[in-house]
């Protein structure tokens, strides 16, 4: 059986933690094995011994069960010299991979889920922002997103209004660009790479490319893990588990324009692994 999402790229391992013995894992429900060959080259094999295509990028090993339409996306900002590249480490979440991405695109939850860090009452208002599906790159983009944050980053001191841009280049990956406190002219890059194990289970590999010479690496990792683990307790408690793509099941508002565009884009491409199509 073939379906559109099998021709996309997915992260399956952190390169710094990939060894000869490798790891047995799942991709879109299929058992695969990711490892290094005797020459140190990463290889991904299916159960019947078939080698899958691979790419090493953004600190992770990427693969696809099918034939990707295009090269894995790039993040030009991440190549700028002077950035610290941070492997945050895998976190398993019992949720739909699409719900994991949608949560990442959302700012309205900051005051309630990341209280006193990424948001705080009474600063709950989400101002209008721009959302588009860019036809040339076939990506979802949200720009001119603003939110008041008590502690936007490990490097932030005190509350600031943070600017955000969101980008969905793949059905289970999202990149966010946010105000970089030490370098106001640049954007910090924070990514959520989601490996869909099944329709209701995923391994999430957050990854970051930050300008920050002050904060120790471990503190940056912990900050991001703290934030993501707060999200995890939400993600494991949404009903239905799968992302409803039919309008009517859930009620969006203006603050959810990114999620509305993401759902529309998923539907357009038949990216429905982890989605619920008929309202139950």
């Amino acid at each position: 059986m073939s379906f559109p999402m099998q021709d996309e790229w997915y992260p399956v391992a952190m390169l710094s933690d990939l060894h000869r013995q490798g790891r047995d894992t799942l991709l879109l429900g299929q058992p695969i094995h990711a490892a290094r060959d005797p020459n140190g080259i990463p290889i991904v094999t299916t159960q019947n011994g078939q080698h899958l295509v691979t790419i090493e990028r953004f600190g992770h090993l990427w693969t696809s069960l099918g034939t990707p339409r295009k090269d894995l996306f790039s993040i030009p900002e991440a190549d700028q010299p002077g950035r610290t590249l941070v492997d945050v480490g895998v976190v398993r979440v019992k949720c739909s991979p699409l719900r994991a991405v949608e949560n990442f695109l959302d700012i309205a939850h900051f005051p309630f889920v990341h209280t006193d860090i990424l948001g705080a009452e009474p600063h709950t208002e989400v101002e209008n922002y721009q959302v588009e599906i860019r036809e040339d790159s076939d990506e979802v983009w949200a720009t001119k997103v603003k939110f008041f944050q008590p502690q936007a980053a490990k490097s932030a001191e005190g509350g600031i209004t943070t600017d955000y841009m969101y980008r969905v280049p793949l059905p289970t990956c999202s990149v966010l660009y946010k105000t970089c406190p030490p370098r106001p002219a640049e954007w910090d890059v924070i990514c959520l790479f989601v490996q869909p194990l099944t329709e209701e289970l995923c391994d999430v590999w957050p990854w970051m490319a930050l300008f920050d010479d002050e904060t120790p690496l471990t503190d940056m990792i912990h900050f991001q893990q703290l934030i993501f683990l707060q999200d995890r307790s939400i993600l494991e408690n949404q009903l239905p588990r799968r992302l409803p793509l039919d309008p009517g099941m859930e009620v969006p508002t203006r603050a959810d324009m990114t999620s509305v565009a993401y759902r529309r884009w998923l539907k357009r491409h038949n990216f429905t692994y982890g989605a619920q199509l008929v309202a139950k």
């Binding site: 952190m14 710094s16 889920v113 690496l217 307790s233």
Partner: protein
């Protein structure tokens, strides 16, 4: 006092929580537990051959068991948290400190498997974790009948701090807390303490702060 700490570690959180509730100042030394496995680095193994965190360093003193660390902090800064009013209370505290270790090895291990790619027999750990939660619930039922909310006394002691995090984070290891009404009330009472701090998976009680929309409308 220096705490070798990890944000996602319930055992380290016990120490941070008691410190917050007793106005104790800790110097935190973040340990890259995941993904870096720094707790198994030569530096940390020199301090704690068991390869676990938390580790508390105070001058020449090095402590590597969270229950001992709680005891040390309480004895130094807030002796009433030791729960030594009566022989019975002191014994109860010891019983719950020992019991807390069972929560760590069952629910804590299930959590590592379900969350951070840990290894082990998940079903067996969950089963043992449920048995421990049932004992906790039964004990809290009895305490309620006697008019007490907490494990060893009618006030919080280090016994409650030792048992609270792994019980509260049971759902991280796919163990439901729905069947335990008295555990729920007990956790709520702990979360309502002045100075309470949260950790991922244990959020604060938003009901304790005012609704800003309500005040602007009135």
């Amino acid at each position: 006092m220096k705490l070798y700490d990890y944000v996602l570690s319930p055992s380290c959180y016990k120490v941070r929580l008691l410190a917050a509730l007793t106005d104790t100042t800790l110097t935190l030394r973040p340990v890259d537990f995941h993904p870096g496995k720094e707790h198994q680095s030569p530096e940390l193994l020199t301090l704690n051959p068991a390869g676990s965190i938390p580790i508390l360093e105070d001058g020449l003193l090095v402590l590597t068991e969270s229950s001992a660390i709680l005891t040390f902090i309480a004895a130094q800064n807030a002796p009433q948290w030791l729960g030594q009013d009566t022989p019975q209370m002191a014994a109860y505290v010891q019983q719950w400190l020992s019991f807390s270790h069972r929560l760590t090895t069952t629910l804590g291990s299930a959590r590592l498997i379900e969350m951070l790619h840990g290894h082990g027999d998940l079903a067996a750990l969950q089963h043992q974790g449920i048995a421990a939660l049932r004992e906790l619930e039964a004990a809290l039922v009895q305490q309620h009948m006697k008019g007490a909310t907490y494990l060893a006394a009618d006030r919080m002691t280090i016994a409650d701090i030792a048992c609270f995090p792994y019980a509260a984070l049971a759902p991280d290891g796919s163990v439901s807390l729905d069947p335990y009404p008295k555990i729920r009330l007990w956790m709520r009472a702990i979360r309502a303490q002045p100075g309470f701090i949260e950790m991922p998976g244990i959020h604060r009680l938003h009901e304790l702060s005012n609704d800003p929309l309500e005040t602007t409308n009135q």
